[in-house]
């Protein structure tokens, strides 16, 4: 039996139509002969978007399966990153997120390449709603996260890269590098960073700190009167569905 909604108001005039084409997954893994390994990578990326009481557990299990082959995983993911088309922003981000989840020195060169790569011009006609430059920036700030984790694990080279890109032309990337050095860097690295920022006239970046959400001003909800018919309570979150498509 198909699940369904109740019948609804017909519309006078015409509405838009949509056709979709489904592909199995967004990656090609050309030149990666180990199908078992690429299947494990696809599984881990798929579990990034998990939901439910055991979602994190399943995701961590999928990552654990990759940790046994981390060298090969880094190599395969790095090769794949360079092949994924520019406009598959979420897919590219998911590969970089794997570098952050599986910190390994062999990822340094790829992470630096990502930060060094030029950000393509804005492709969106409406960047207020969806900015492709914004997507590119999130990919790079996630690369900064991966470097910060490596630096926290005492990989000195990661600190060098973070210091270098504290001068990146894009504000969010500079801000992320500055925070990473201040949080994971040695006293010498922090002094070097301060010198760089003084030279650039940007010491104000040091004032932007990561905060707990409970410490910042909150939004004030409920400024309008609530209609009675909108006060309905939701069902429990754990009801069983049937297998989805």
């Amino acid at each position: 039996m198909k699940t369904r909604q109740g019948t609804d108001t017909p519309v006078v005039g015409s509405v838009d139509t949509l056709k979709i084409k489904v592909v199995e997954h967004p990656f090609s893994f050309r030149d990666s002969p180990d199908e078992h390994l690429t299947a494990l990578i696809v599984t881990a990326i798929n579990h990034m978007g998990g939901v439910g009481e055991h979602a994190e557990e399943a995701y961590q299990r999928a990552l654990a399966a990759l940790r046994d082959h981390v060298d090969a995983v880094v190599k395969t993911v790095a090769a794949e990153y360079s092949r994924v088309p520019e406009n598959q922003y979420l897919d590219r981000w998911s590969l970089v997120q794997l570098f952050a989840e599986l910190p390994h020195p062999s990822a340094l060169a790829t992470l630096e390449r990502i930060l060094a790569s030029d950000i393509p011009p804005e492709r969106s006609k409406d960047p207020h709603g969806h900015s492709t430059v914004g997507e590119e920036v999130m990919i790079r700030t996630t690369a900064v996260d991966a470097l910060a984790r490596l630096h926290a694990a005492k990989i000195v080279e990661a600190g060098r890269i973070l210091l270098r890109y504290a001068e990146h032309p894009t504000f969010s990337i500079r801000r992320a590098c500055v925070q990473a050095v201040m949080e994971t860097g040695s006293p010498d690295e922090q002094k070097n960073l301060q010198k760089i920022l003084q030279k650039r006239g940007e010491t104000s970046l040091l004032e932007i700190r990561r905060r707990d959400v409970r410490e910042v001003p909150q939004a004030t909800g409920g400024r309008f009167i609530v209609r009675d018919d909108r006060k309905n309570e939701p069902p429990s979150p754990g009801l069983k569905g049937r297998p989805a498509i």
């Binding site: 909604q5 979602a55 709603g129 939004a219 979150p237």
Partner: protein
């Protein structure tokens, strides 16, 4: 009438595969349909958008329902949607009280959503296929804030990825505009989101920081 096409990867990090198994229950479908502004709009969700196939999260309606599930259940104490609780709790209430006419359209291929007077919000192709599930929930919160009466009041700052110098920014965090609501929702999802993964929470942090860094004329002075 416009006709649009899209290629959807079946396995990706967007979150849609797993949410699909959860939302596919008539109780949820009825609840989301009647609560978040779909009701009365069958015509806009038919013709390929998923009305007759709403468990299929490759289709638009299933993807919108995924955002509704996240919006409804991401607080561990989801039943408490009092205004004195965090926005993670009352984000769903903000949306259900402000959007009563939610329609899908093709848009220009990259547009996400637009708010019109009287509780009407249109969501476009980019909403379903460019945004991950938390990003879609953020969009509904953002548009609800516009419906709630707060328009943008400033130009984007120098270097902003959203269009430096153009209108559409909020002046400050304290203005409590749509950008602040969206970023705060993502921040809470990162800090306390339930029934999700650390990866999606990290993704919410990245997006929240992007908004904080780029959507306020005066930078709020903090990060997630």
């Amino acid at each position: 009438m416009a006709s649009c096409t899209y290629t959807v990867p079946d396995k990706s990090a967007s979150g849609d595969n797993f949410y699909g198994a959860v939302i596919c229950n008539q109780i949820y479908i009825d609840y989301f349909w009647n609560t978040y502004g779909f009701s009365g709009n069958k015509a806009y969700w038919d013709d390929g958008w998923g009305w007759d196939d709403c468990c299929n999260t490759n289709k638009a309606l299933g993807r919108a329902f995924n955002a509704c599930y996240l919006l409804t259940y991401s607080a561990s104490d989801y039943a408490n949607d009092s205004w004195s609780s965090p926005i993670l709790n009352w984000g769903r209430r903000l949306v259900r009280e402000n959007i009563d006419d939610l329609r899908s359209k093709c848009g220009d291929g990259s547009a996400i959503a637009r708010s019109f007077s009287g509780g009407l919000v249109e969501v476009y192709l980019g909403f379903f296929y460019s945004k991950d599930v938390p990003g879609r929930a953020e969009t509904l919160v953002h548009e609800s804030r516009h419906q709630d009466g707060q328009a943008h009041n400033a130009n984007f700052p120098t270097g902003s990825v959203f269009g430096a110098g153009k209108s559409g920014a909020d002046s400050t965090w304290g203005y409590e505009g749509a950008w602040m609501y969206g970023a705060l929702y993502l921040w809470w999802f990162y800090a306390a989101g339930a029934r999700t993964t650390s990866a999606l929470r990290d993704r919410a942090r990245q997006r929240g920081n992007l908004v904080i860094d780029n959507a306020f004329a005066t930078h709020p002075g903090f990060s997630i």
